[in-house]
């Protein structure tokens, strides 16, 4: 009988983490400016030494590395959120954006752009903060409306989330249509998804935030296994169903909100990675969740690197890369492995 053991879990996680580190290092070499190995080693061993603060170091540390790390955080967050929501909604089509949080974050950020609030509040830029506030409000709204007699109704939540997302998306379209030409560019650029805009303070906060969220969700991974069976069965197998639903919804939504606030709407990560991984490692969330996080990080870091190097100096939006590369590959795997979703064979 195939079963998940601690040993298998540790080995997988360690291998993937190593892969992630290697990816980060690899990606930091890629780019239009030349950075050689000697410089890199020196920089990493003596980051604070002033003598090495030449152009290459600056590029690496201040431009590329934050970008790569942000890609990792956002990729991991979206992949994990996708896994969690698919379990919560018991629907293989669910992705992190389905419940409207992303639209709320987008709206918040766009309002900030519109109002020209390109300032910093303390060390933190205001656009992501507004984005995050927007996401938070959306979460509260959807959560509140989905409660029936103190219990969360998953079907209601799905409908409310989708409708709320649609309304918010319409609002965004409206704003875009009445905004001045200078603002429009900023808005569209933000919406397309961009990983290059953050600096370390924001990065650190988002990382801390997302990692905490992922760890909390990881603790409830077994609960997600049970939730996928249906609420009644899950309860009959000992799960505190209401608590599990709350944690899943709030956790997934918050990390999505955070991700979207700093990077815009990057698609195809949250729906692709969960399914790709399920085909390979199965549906046990204790393994699927952390692997999704690490894989999502690797995936997005690579996609972003391709985006900024393929047609340098121009930048292909990362969302395009994720769709173009991920989509066909997914269909190929689907056909090869005869993946079964629900009761149908695809």
């Amino acid at each position: 009988m195939k079963v998940l053991s601690l040993r298998k879990w540790l080995i997988t996680i360690i291998v993937l983490t190593t892969l992630l580190v290697l990816t980060i290092i690899f990606c930091s070499f890629q780019g239009s400016a030349d950075v050689n190995l000697g410089d890199v080693i020196n920089i990493f061993s003596n980051p604070l030494s002033q003598t090495w603060w030449n152009t290459e170091a600056i590029i690496l540390l201040k431009v590329r590395l934050p970008r790569i790390l942000l890609a990792c955080i956002v990729g991991g967050a979206l992949a994990v959120a996708g896994v969690v929501l698919q379990a919560l909604l018991r629907n293989p089509l669910a992705d992190p954006y389905i419940l409207g949080v992303s639209s709320g974050s987008a709206l918040g950020a766009i309002i900030a752009i519109l109002l020209g609030l390109n300032i910093s509040i303390g060390l933190l830029p205001s656009i992501p903060l507004f984005g995050f506030a927007g996401g938070l409000l959306t979460i509260l709204f959807v959560y509140h409306i989905s409660k029936i007699h103190q219990k969360i109704s998953v079907q209601t939540m799905l409908l409310v989330g989708v409708v709320t997302g649609a309304i918010l998306a319409a609002t965004i379209m409206f704003i875009t249509s009445i905004a001045g030409p200078d603002k429009v560019h900023g808005i569209i650029f933000w919406l397309m998804g961009n990983l290059g805009s953050e600096e370390y303070p924001m990065l650190l906060i988002v990382s801390f935030y997302v990692l905490t969220g992922i760890l909390i969700l990881l603790y409830h991974a077994r609960g997600l296994n049970l939730l996928a069976l249906g609420e009644e069965s899950a309860a009959q197998l000992g799960l505190d169903v209401e608590r599990a639903k709350k944690v899943a919804f709030i956790g997934a939504s918050l990390i999505t909100g955070a991700a979207v606030s700093v990077s815009g709407l990057i698609g195809f990560v949250g729906i692709l990675i969960p399914h790709l991984l399920r085909m390979v490692i199965g549906s046990d969330h204790r393994l699927l969740l952390p692997v999704a996080g690490l894989s999502g990080a690797i995936y997005l870091a690579l996609a972003d690197t391709i985006g900024r190097t393929l047609m340098a100096p121009a930048e292909i939006p990362v969302g395009v890369i994720t769709a173009i590369c991920g989509g066909p590959f997914f269909i190929y795997l689907l056909k090869r492995k005869k993946y079964k979703i629900g009761t149908a064979t695809i």
């Binding site: 998940l4 603790y219 077994r222 296994n225 996928a228 069976l229 000992g238 204790r286 993946y339």
Partner: protein
């Protein structure tokens, strides 16, 4: 009452009773697993359950039957605390269900739903292992002991060879057994099954019920089964609860609960309850509603003369049409006599293999006296039963229907003589059962005189 995961495997699937018995409250009947008192429950407006009380004894198989909407599945959901009743109390091993934590409930009660749903590809082994969830905590991985328990559960349900297959790929029966294995892996003290054989063919149905019986006998597992299948329920359950309009209509052994009276009232249908010749358990046959409409209408009494199995078919048809039927004289053990017994028909009996005595002859006379009409089936008549025909001479005014008969005289010509005599006196001669039924209907409608005058409708001579 939270029990730690057993580190030794011990008894394959028996519940870990020792700990819970020690920690049970004193003064509680140790042999009751469940005590349900005055349960009232509603989903929206009307009470689905309206005052239900019962006890479930340890080690018994209890069946819950009743019409759709009578609250059967609701009871199971209340017993596993998926829903909470507005009124009433449920105690498991003496402790109030509401006071237990979700995990404790899952360690005590295993539920087998009607049709489990799996949105993602998952193997049978993984499904069964989920049954160990109530015994795991936090992020934990399953231990060796857990794996062994799951394997044993699969061995008991004959699903061990399926453990690496995807649950989608299994047939209905295999999937149901896998779900039962999952419930068994919980090492529960009591198992609740909701229509476990609803989607299964008869082979699989028997498989599941035999498994259930085995688990009960060998592992002392208490079982509560909700079922629509009255025959299976009567076969395999020790006790039955018949639900009707939210209340317990009858509770007791299958023979006490499954009766024509109870079932026809509760299911608003005509049923026939006989004894299963192989097992002795009550066996239910459904009678069409179309016919049962007439069931209450007819008051005509028909006396049927038959024997040797010739009358069973017509008996049934007359009963379905709603007539009151009597028979006589029949020897005990004769196929027609057995048919009368299971149909509940009044019959004048004679000793096995004996000719008709004076005593039974006179009883037969009394019976025929009360009949409105006599029908003589295509029976063979010999010395033993010729008096069944001869008795008709005592009733010159009684309408008689003879079925066309030949090669029936084994009484040295006497039977043919009687037949000719009856015909000359005006007995109606019909060819088959449909004609008989039609004739009887018309007699009821337009009266005997018209028919007998030979001038009415198709009976014109």
């Amino acid at each position: 009452m939270l029990r730690k995961s057993p580190t030794s495997v011990g008894n394959p699937v028996g519940p870990s009773v020792t700990i819970s018995r020690e920690t049970c409250l004193s003064g509680v009947k140790m042999d009751s697993i469940y005590e349900v008192e005055n349960l009232r429950f509603k989903y929206d407006e009307s009470w689905v359950l309206d005052g239900i009380s019962f006890r479930v004894k340890e080690g018994e198989i209890l069946g819950i039957i009743g019409p759709n909407g009578s609250g059967k599945t609701t009871i199971l959901r209340i017993l596993s605390r998926v829903v909470i009743p507005q009124e009433g109390e449920v105690r498991v091993r003496g402790k109030n269900l509401l006071e237990l934590r979700q995990k404790e409930i899952a360690q005590t009660i295993g539920v087998v739903p009607q049709d489990a749903f799996f949105p993602f590809p998952i193997t049978v082994g993984e499904v069964v292992l989920m049954g160990r969830s109530p015994w795991l905590s936090g992020f934990g991985f399953e231990s060796e002991a857990d794996l062994q328990i799951a394997s044993q559960a699969m061995a008991l349900t004959n699903t061990l060879n399926l453990s690496d297959r995807l649950i989608f790929e299994l047939s209905g029966g295999e999937r149901q057994r896998a779900i039962i294995a999952r419930a068994l892996a919980q090492r529960p003290q009591v198992m609740l099954l909701d229509e476990p054989t609803a989607y299964l063919d008869i082979g699989h149905q028997i498989e599941i019920y035999d498994l259930v019986k085995k688990l009960n006998a060998e592992n002392r597992l208490t079982l509560i089964i909700v079922s629509h299948d009255l025959n299976l329920a009567s076969e395999y359950c020790d006790r039955l609860i018949l639900l009707y309009e939210g209340k317990i209509y009858r509770m007791g052994k299958p023979k006490e609960v499954i009766t024509e009276e109870n079932l026809s009232r509760v299911y608003q249908s005509s049923v026939l309850v006989e004894e299963n010749p192989v097992t002795g358990a009550p066996r239910v046959t459904l009678l069409s509603k179309l016919m049962s409409g007439k069931y209450r209408e007819k008051s005509m009494r028909i006396h049927l003369i038959s024997g040797g199995g010739s009358g069973a078919d017509l008996m049934r048809k007359l009963i379905i049409e709603g007539y009151k039927v009597t028979c006589g004289v029949l020897n005990i053990g004769d196929a027609d006599e057995l048919a009368c017994n299971s149909l509940g028909i009044e019959v004048v009996k004679e000793e096995p293999f004996s000719p008709i005595s004076a005593e039974s002859f006179s009883r037969n006379k009394t019976t025929i006296e009360k009949a409105d009409i006599v029908i003589v089936e295509r029976t063979k008549f010999g010395k033993g039963n010729i008096r069944n025909l001869e008795v008709l001479f005592e009733f010159p005014e009684k309408p008689i229907i003879l079925l066309e008969n030949d090669n029936f005289d084994y009484a040295g010509g006497k039977a043919t003589q009687v037949y000719e005599e009856l015909k000359s006196r005006g007995a109606a001669i019909l060819g088959n059962h449909s004609e008989i039924i039609e004739y009887l209907e018309e007699v009821t409608e337009v009266g005997r005189e018209k028919i007998d005058s030979g001038l009415y409708g198709r009976w014109k001579r």
